[in-house]
Amino acid sequence: MTKLSMKERYHLLTRDLDWTPTYVAPEEVYPHSRYEGIKIHDWGAWEDPFRLTVDAYCKYQAEKDKKLYAVIDSFAQGQGHLGLSDASYVNAVKLFIQGVSPLEYQAHRHFGYLARHLDGAGARFASLCQSLDEIRHAQTQIHTISNYNKHYAGMHDWQKMHQRVWYLSVPKSYFDDALSAGPFEFMTAISFSFEYLLTNLLFVPFMSGASFNGDLATMTFGFSAQSDESRHMTLGLEVIKFMLEQDEGNVPIVQDWIDKWFWRGYRLTTLVAAMMDYFLPKKVMSWKEAFELYFEEQMLGGLFPDLAYYGINPPRHVAQAQAEKEYVSHQVYWILYQYTHAAAFNTTIPSDEAMAWLTESYPTTFDRYYKPLWDKAKAIEAGGGRFYNMALPQLCQVCQIPMGFTEPGDPGQICFRQSEYEGELYNFCSDGCQWIFDREPEKYVQAWLPVHQIYQGNCGGATIPDVLAWYGIAEGDNLDYAVSTDKTSWDEWHAKGGN
């Protein structure tokens, strides 16, 4: 008997488990895999992106978690949070548990859906592994951040916040959009556009930032999660290639999805841009540098020439994202700064040192467009005030971010786009978001836009305190960092500590 190769053995342990049903029609068993128009002729051509069996998976994952929880425990027991660069760093962690962990959870559930609803056994098994990975990520994040929650504001009611607070409808609607799509579009959205194209922009700089700012627990869960992420990236790339190779008719459909989900994902990462450039007391790299390294160099320079072989072009609207790398983080943080009274984190005017770093990192835009705004905010503060925008902002119908983005080629002019559909007007922040709406207006008219819901009286009441209470935002969660309970506690702990 000749010994089986790793590939043959893996095949027998996964795909060979499958059989074609005869007592019921096969298409009844997988009723969701045809309506999107993607044609798959041979699931047998699927290349397994990695060859882990269940026993090996459990073994390696158990080992990873053993290490991870040891770090989490020792960080908590050793009061590691006191060794952070500054308490203001924790605002990045708040954004993470409110905005990112719930997405991990959504991915967990919906990769479970793929593990049920794809026709190919190889693809189902890879999805099932990912479904488990994603609940791992959600839970290791919750468990790590649980320790911060004991000492800092803004994290105590993240579940409710994620579903209700205005800026968190940005990530939630993004994932709801993906989950409500068919299985192939979901994979293009999450496995490919999010996990392969953009995830590095979210995780790698964030986790390096955590490390640099003394947050070893977050760095550890982040990097440990990323080790799973490399499997997810492989799945994302395999999915795209598989669809493209199976039928030429799939190419325009996939191109459309890449166009849509690049822009959708890019808009979401602008929140990360603001976090990187403004939330971290000690900076690792600027958004612009990260974008150049992880997106322009690796994706536009590396991946898309590979996909050109199949007739796939770089995403529509990519030029706009490239232009925005010079200023988008400033625009988004400026939004967060002036609506901090309604947010579950604290912002503040960047220190002189941070301002100098911003000037240096963004030589063509920061001093010209954004420093004057900070000067004005400083002047207001010098007069005993704090600049808060007291009107609710206009939201983009698609990305749901307040419409603070500017016209292509003119960072001084807010960009407005508008479509009319069945007698109603819809507003957009960009050509990209408008294009997405116009493709599928029936979908985006349903959006639960926080500002419009507040005005309908669906968010706890008519006053700011009513809405904040309904959001789960308690005293100390919001407002400027200077007056935050986090700062007060931090100063007290460090004064006692003999600093």
């Binding site: 060859r51 590095n200 995780f203 080790s227 490399s230 150049e292 590396g302 991946l303 020439p305 590979d306």
Partner: protein, 96 residues
């Protein structure tokens, strides 16, 4: 504007820990022209051509048996396509 990219880099990001040092050394041994950048907690390795991680070299550096599956404990991210991942080697490259 996009930075003009003539070289199509592939690469891996690895956790910077004692346990990954042997892997980094093995990569350095088996791949010419790589560049290594250090970030907090992380090492970024880039190569202008296909990147090979060979089991035998890693085992030599560790001085113990090493399964290619164990690479999963070290990797944070990568750029390129995992063209092969079997018992003996992992190859990352662009296909087209």
């Amino acid at each position: 504007m996009s930075a003009p990219t003539t070289v199509r880099w592939v690469g891996v990001d690895l956790q910077e820990t004692d346990a990954t040092r042997a892997i980094v050394e093995a990569i350095e041994t088996d791949n010419a022209d790589i560049t290594i950048k250090h970030f907090p907690g992380m090492i970024k390795i880039q190569s202008p051509g296909p990147l090979h991680i060979n089991r035998s070299t890693v085992e030599e550096k560790y001085g113990r048996p090493w399964e290619t599956h164990e690479f999963q404990l070290a990797i944070i991210s990568y750029a390129g396509n995992i063209a092969n991942w079997d018992d003996d080697e992992i190859v990352i490259k662009w296909e087209h």
